[in-house]
């Protein structure tokens, strides 16, 4: 702390520091400073995302492909994209979505909603079946008894494999719906819960460091960049 304060002279740093403190004030309780930061944040960030959506999604992927001349407006040296009339479909669906703005045309918006729900169903069904069902079973089919190179039983490793297999199956049992969790079945399911709790504890423990880093870098900004203490 030898140097003492060396306050920053940049307006942006001061704005950033003020906003940081306003957000942190929430930790004490809700207050006018937090409220102001929150309301500005909502307005700016909503508009920011909308602007990016317009210029980086709608413009190049829809407008420029329906009206190739448009591409030149944003990138003069660009090669004109080829027409893709099929893009009229999402544009029409998008316009139907706006039907919600008027009570009499609300029903129109159910078509684009249906399209969206259809994509969620279609995209995920096979993907999850492959990567979370087949792949997990595939990598779970490992030997439960491991022999050392000398032909003896590797006790520790075998035990670990057996625990892994047993824990997985107990966990699966926990998730069953159509059998009441009573008696032995309940004990197996309970063991499954214990395994899952260990899983959650592990993930939690591993995440703490990443979260602390975020605070460290914010405090670096406040103490260093703003106050010049370090």
């Amino acid at each position: 702390m030898s140097g003492g304060l060396h306050l920053s002279s940049s307006v942006e740093v001061w704005v950033g520091a003020a906003l940081t403190l306003m957000v942190f004030s929430y930790l004490w309780r809700d207050n006018p400073f937090y409220k102001l930061a929150e309301h500005v944040f909502v307005g700016v960030s909503a508009a920011y995302v909308m602007v990016l959506g317009f210029w980086t999604t709608l413009w190049p992927n829809a407008i420029a492909k329906l009206w190739p001349g448009a591409a030149r407006l944003t990138t003069p040296e660009a090669v004109e994209p080829t027409h893709d009339w099929a893009l009229l479909l999402p544009v029409i669906l998008g316009l139907l979505m706006l039907g919600r703005l008027h009570p009499r045309t609300v029903w129109l918006s159910r078509w684009p909603t249906a399209f969206a729900i259809g994509t969620s169903a279609g995209y995920n069904l096979v993907r999850y079946l492959r990567s979370d069902f087949l792949a997990q079973i595939h990598s779970g089919m490992t030997p439960s008894l491991i022999a050392t190179t000398g032909g003896r039983l590797a006790l520790g490793e075998s035990l670990s494999h057996a625990i892994l297999l047993g824990g997985t199956i107990c966990g699966i049992v926990y998730f069953t719906y159509t059998r009441q969790h009573r008696g032995a079945w309940a004990r197996v399911a309970g063991t499954g819960v214990l395994f899952m709790m260990v899983t959650f504890g592990t993930t939690f423990g591993y995440t703490v460091m990443a979260r602390i880093s975020l605070l460290v870098s914010r405090l670096h900004f406040l103490l260093g960049t703003w106050l010049g203490l370090i």
Binding site: A46, S131, L165, Q180
Partner: protein, 272 residues
Amino acid sequence: MAGWFEQANWNLALFTLILGGVLLASIRAALRGRVPRVRVLPGVAAMAEAVGRAVEMGRPVFFVPGTRDLDNVQTVAGLAVLGELAALTARLECRLEVLTDRSLVMAAAREAGRAAYLAAGRPETWRDDSVSYVSDDQFGFVARVDGLIARERPATCFWLGAFSAESLLLAEAGSQIGAIQIAGTAERSQLPFFIAACDYTLIGEELFAASACLTGDPALLGTLRGQDLGKAVAGGALLLGSLLATAAALTHWPFIVKLQSALQRLFSAGGP
């Protein structure tokens, strides 16, 4: 055939057909009266009570159907639960506040809410603006929701859908004001935080089962029987695969080795 069907994905196709068939058969059986008795999920059972608590306290219920868009199946599962909860808030005349960070989700949530109030016989009490859009920005959304929680002090918070790092930012804010919180997500990295901060958490697949359990609709309950049969396949395959792998490694008998590699191929997730 070669040009029509991706042969590398034969086992994926096989399992799609098997699971699809099992699910369809379970639905059919349930519709014919063989409705499975489903065990009570504590998180689902607590939902009605949690809404009732809000009515008693005269405070609102907050609902967030995740923070991803409508193409995420968890969002849709959250909305399915919202449909059932809205029917409840309609009957109990409880204030429902749905906050979304995607416009498409907002539209779908309004549709679900309106239909639920209509079905509950109270269409006149439904207001579209009880579902509002905040901001697509992850933390802009959180800033608003946390602020609202501190100000409106909801009695109950539902966090049902796909969440990222904001899970704990939302759930801690709710815990600070002592709200009853019921969460559910299939994002494995966020489950620990909901478990730590919420009263009830629907773990992974339970999120998808919640709407079925709430409605008690025979067809939906039928799919739960189908899912359980899928679990039997998974557990059986794991046991058999392990057994064969052990036998193959210890004995090296050609027959067992062949059988084991055949089973491995059946569950291979490779392909293009």
